[in-house]
Each structure stands twice: as structure tokens, then as C-alpha cells.
Symmetry: C2
DNA sequence: CAACAATGTCACCAGTGGTGACATTGCGTC
DNA sequence: GACGCAATGTCACCACTGGTGACATTGTTG
């Protein structure tokens, strides 16, 4: 009943004549990340990502259970990236200058947020993992947190920090960095460009680190 | 073509036979707030709020331009509430114990967030007012911020705080409180119930206030 | 009481997340 | 190399959402 001409018209939608995409999962993730960056996190649409890749939106469901599942992976990759950036930014500093390193850590955290606001919001906006789905997302988060915990631990060992619980002091730092990032993204912190924002961070967070010193 | 029986069947949708509601604006706001509290902020639906009030969803648009406009008012009322709570919680403390009062302020802020997580997310999640719409929302925010600024100002005048810029130190406090609230809402801060969370706040924020002291 | 503005209703739109039936393809097996 | 199965896409469809314009019903004001 259907002639060949009817069966093969949609070919041009996809770049190649390939019915199968090759690595759709990766392509969708990249498209999603790009869209989120451009259009904002809440405006993101699974269908638009599929469109961008040139694929029916239903195809996406072969690789992700859910829209949430897709976003969870995007978030996960964000945490991996932020951990990398933290490592990079701490790399040059000697292991003994813990305060400096913590400052660098906070700066990396905030820097990532300012450079990738929408991505950051996906990571820490909706509580994607509130029900314990997406354990690998959880791991990615913990990977980043570990950097912080290790640093504080060493600070204590070196006698540079107060004699308080490691976890508490770490939370103090995270709290400050995260609060700063959130408020900055909300436009609540007045600064010119993101460079000045990074500079201003030091002004705001300095007292916190000072308060943690021995 | 349409008989009378066809024209008047939907009466039972609304509780009274009243075609006009009386104070639909208020009713929708209350319904919205309730729904947000129960179902969560992102699951909130304009149509469901209308349904709850027993009105066609289009009627809502007579009172609110937009879904965003509705949410903006919800957020605004949240900021009024949070300011009230801050005032209440600072009320008992003498004006000279600035540190104590700042602690109370932070505690009120975090307390509100923990008691009304979804509402809090509407207030500080999506940047509702990024384009300067909703000036009254802006005012409500400033109303709350003023409490903080005033307190810091007095602290400086009394010589209890560092000799840094008022706005900077205020941002330090807000940053800490907001970061704590956000992370707590994300389940990133381990605590049993919200009572313990409030107690733990002190552990985390104490170094910050210490750092601000003269 | 007539006319007008305010407030609701209705029917409709495009777009979204999601699903089940079906088509196409790649690949291991005989 | 043909066969058949699992993986991967497509298609048609669902209920639902935010939003709009035409129309109905009211309250109010002259």
C-alpha cells in the first residue's frame, strides 16, 4: 500500500541517510547542554533537543528513561566538570597553604557557576536526586565534596584551622561559596562583570575563612 | 440553536450560583500557595489552582497577566512573611547585641526556608524578576534586605563589627544564610529534623559571624 | 433602566512529556 | 551468506499545559 517514495521521505531530517544515529545518547546530551546554556534551564525541552539532533523525540526515550533522567546526567557531567575546575585552580598552590587553597576552591566553584549559570541551576536547582534515583549523580557530587573535605582535613592536621569537626567546617565553606553563587546568579550581588564578581567573592568570603582560622 | 438547558449546565462547578466570585484574585493566590506547598514549586499549575477555586483557568488571566506574574505575587508575599519572621525573631534581643541579632536573623531566614521549602524556592529559585518586571516584588525583597543592612550598620556604629563596608558584610551574612538554606533544602546538610537543622545552623554560621567581629 | 466596565466561560491553539505499535537496522549464529 | 533477534528509530496518539479571542453574565453608575 505504501510506495517506496512514501517510506523514505524523512531522510533529510537527519544529516546522513543513516536511520541509526551512531551515538545518539552522546549527541542528545551535548544538544541538551547547549540548549540549556543558551535558552536557560527551565526553558529546556526534551523535544527541542531531539529536533536539534534531527531525531524523533521518542528516540530519546531509548537512551533516557525520563526528562529527569536526562537532566540528571547533564547535572552529573556538570559536577565532574566543577571538580576538574577545582583541581585545576588549586593545582598551583602548595599543600601547606590551606587557606589559599580553600579560597581557590571557592573561587572555582563560583567561577563555574558564573560561567555556566543555567548548567549550574540544573545541578543545584531542582532536587533531581531527592528520591535517591541516579546514584551516579550522587557519586559525582561526592567526588567534588571530597576535594573540600580533604582540604579541610589537612588544614586541621596542619593546625591551621580551628579545632572543630571537619564536616562542619567544610559545610561552612560550601555554604558560603554556594550562597554567593546563588545570590550572584539571582543578580542579588552587585558587580560589573564576572571578573569583578570573582574579585568581590574574596571580599565576601574572606571573613568566613578568617573565622575558620585557628 | 442552543437551548437554555445547554447554556446553564456548568453552574455546579462553582460552590455558589455566583457567576462572579467575589475575590478571585485572593482566592487564586491562596490556592496557589497551598498547591505549591503541597505539590512542590515546579509541579505547580495555573490550571490546577483555577480548578481548586472552581473557576475556568481563563478567569485567572483577568487578575494576573501571566503564570509568572502570579508566581511573582506569591514570591512577594513570601518576602513579606520572611521579613516579618525576622522581625519577630529579633524582637526580644537588645539592640546592642548585634551579633546575637544577626544570628537570629539568619535563623529566621533559614527557619522560613525549612518550614516552607517550596515557597522559598519560588522566591529564590527561578529569577522571576530578572527583567525588572514586578517592581513590587523588588520592593518586598529590599524590605527584607533593609533589616539586614540596618543591623550591620548599627554593628559598625557600635564598634562591634570589622571596619569593612556595610554592604559587604551584609552580603557575607546573607550569603551564609542563603547558602545554608539552599543546601539544606537540597538535602546536602545532614540533620535529623528541622529543629536540629536550626541548631546545626549555628555551628556552620558561627565562624562567619566570628569572622565579622572586630 | 440603559449602557458600560468588570469578570467569567467556552472553544480553540501550539507545544510538551510520555507511550505503544510498527519499521529499520546491525550483528551473532547456523 | 541468509536468518532471526535485539537494538534503535519513527509514527500516531494521549492528556495536559499556558495562552488567547469571542461571547456571556454580572455590578455599577449615569
Amino acid at each position: 500500500m505504501t510506495e517506496k517514495t512514501e517510506k523514505t521521505p524523512a531522510r533529510r531530517a537527519k544529516p546522513r541517510g543513516t536511520y541509526h544515529h551512531g551515538d545518539l545518547r552522546r549527541a542528545v546530551l551535548d544538544a541538551a547542554t547547549a540548549l540549556i546554556r543558551e535558552r536557560g534551564s527551565e526553558a529546556f525541552t526534551l523535544r527541542e533537543a531531539a529536533r536539534l539532533v534531527g531525531v524523533d523525540h521518542a528516540a530519546v526515550y531509548r537512551h533516557f528513561e525520563d526528562k529527569r533522567a536526562l537532566l540528571a546526567v547533564v547535572a552529573e557531567e556538570g559536577f565532574v566538570a566543577i571538580a576538574g575546575r577545582i583541581r585545576d585552580e588549586m593545582a598551583g598552590l602548595p599543600e601547606t597553604s590551606v587557606l589559599e587553597r580553600l579560597k581557590a576552591l571557592a573561587s572555582a566553584y563560583v567561577g563555574f557557576a558564573l560561567d555556566n549559570p543555567a548548567h549550574f541551576r540544573v545541578m543545584l536547582g531542582p532536587r533531581l536526586n531527592e528520591d535517591g534515583r541516579f546514584p551516579s549523580l550522587e557519586s559525582a557530587i561526592e567526588g567534588a565534596v571530597t576535594l573540600l573535605l580533604d582540604e579541610v582535613r589537612r588544614g586541621r592536621r596542619l593546625g591551621l584551622l580551628r579545632d572543630a569537626r571537619t564536616r562542619d567546617m567544610a559545610m561552612t565553606v560550601w555554604t558560603a561559596a554556594h550562597g554567593y553563587a546563588s545570590l550572584a546568579l539571582l543578580g542579588r550581588i552587585k558587580h560589573g562583570d564576572s571578573v569583578r564578581a570573582a574579585a568581590y567573592l574574596e571580599v565576601v568570603v574572606a571573613p568566613v575563612l578568617a573565622g575558620l582560622q585557628r
